[in-house]
Amino acid sequence: MDQLERDLLNNLQGGFPICAHPFQVLAERLGYSEDVLIEGVQQLIAKGYISRFGPLFNTEKLGGAVSLAAMAVPPERFDAVADQVNSFEEVAHNYERDDRLNMWFVVLVSDEIALANVLAEISRETGLEVLNFPKEQEYFLELKLEVPE
C-alpha cells in the first residue's frame, strides 16, 4: 500500500465534499491532483481495500425495520434450517456462531408488522423458536480503521 492509498483511507471514510468537483476540492486539501485522487480511489476498489465508494445510508431512517434474531438449531438439522432461513429474501445476513444459539440473522423489512410476520413464518417453517433481539438503543461509532505508515 502506498502513501496515496493510505492518505485516501485515512481521510476519506467520511466527509467527501458535496459540490460540482469534489475530487478537485479534496485534491487541494490533500496535496494531490484531481486525476491522481480519482485513479487512487479506483485502484482501492480494484485491489479490494474498499468495498464501496459513496453514501452510507441509515437503513432504518429509510423507513424500514431491522432486527437481529437467533435460533438454537439442532446440529443435525443445521444446514437444512440454514437453507430455509436463507430462502427468505428479507433475511439480509445470516451467521453460524458457536453458542447454543447457533444461528444469528438480520431481517430487513418495510415495517414492524412485516418483521413480526417474517419471524413468525420462519418459526413455523422450521418448527424452532425464534428469539428476537430488536435494537433498543444504538451506541454507534463504526469501526475506525486507521492505516499506519
Partner: protein, 174 residues
C-alpha cells in the same frame, strides 16, 4: 420496546436518488452531475438533496467504505454483556467509542436463557487480540457487569447488501 424511528419526509425524487447511489457513486470528476444525468436531475438538485439527507441522518456519511477483511481484520467476536439496567446507557456509550468496537447496541434479554443486554462487535487480526480487547471491555465495565460471553462466527451463511425498496411497493406485493 423498540424505539420507533420517525421516518423523515422523503419524496419520490429522493427515492430515485437513493436507488441510484446505494451501490456507489461514479468515481469521476463530477460524480453528482453524472448521477443526475441518469435520473434527470441537475447537479445542483442532486447535491442539495444529498446534503439534506446527510443533515437529517438518512445518510450517515459519504466516502470510502473500507473492506476490513482485506486489512487483516479477520477475527470478529460478538461480545455480549449482562449489565445493570441503570448503568447500561452510560456503559454503552463508553464501549461504543472504543476503536476496536464497530456496532454496539442495547438489546432485550430473553430470561432465563439469555441474560445479556449489551452487544458489542469486537474486531481484531486474531482471536487472541479479540480476547485481549474483550478483557479490556471487562475492565472498563467493572462492577456494572454480571456475566459475559463471546460468540465467534463460524461461517457466513448469507450476506447481501442493502436492498431497499419503498414500503408502498412492498405493500402491493403482499
Amino acid at each position: 420496546m423498540n424505539n420507533p424511528v420517525p421516518v423523515p419526509e422523503l419524496d419520490e425524487i429522493d427515492e430515485a436518488l437513493i436507488r441510484a447511489t446505494q451501490s456507489g457513486l461514479p468515481i469521476t470528476s463530477t460524480p453528482y452531475g453524472d448521477i443526475g444525468l441518469g435520473i434527470g436531475l441537475s447537479p445542483d438538485e442532486v447535491e442539495q438533496r444529498l446534503q439534506r439527507m446527510l443533515d437529517i441522518g438518512v445518510i450517515r456519511r459519504i466516502g470510502i467504505i473500507p473492506n476490513h477483511y482485506q486489512f487483516g481484520y479477520r477475527a470478529n467476536g460478538m461480545s455480549v454483556w449482562d449489565i445493570d439496567d441503570d448503568r447500561i446507557d452510560e456503559m454503552g456509550e463508553t464501549i461504543g467509542a472504543l476503536d476496536f468496537v464497530s456496532h454496539c447496541y442495547r438489546r432485550p434479554r430473553h430470561l432465563p436463557e439469555w441474560p445479556f443486554n449489551l452487544f458489542a462487535m469486537v474486531h481484531g487480526t486474531s482471536r487472541d487480540i479479540v480476547e485481549a480487547h474483550v478483557a479490556e471491555i471487562r475492565k472498563i465495565l467493572g462492577d456494572t457487569v454480571h456475566d459475559h460471553r463471546i460468540l465467534y462466527s463460524r461461517r457466513i451463511l448469507k450476506k447481501t447488501g442493502l436492498r431497499w425498496r419503498k414500503s408502498k411497493e412492498r405493500k402491493c406485493c403482499e
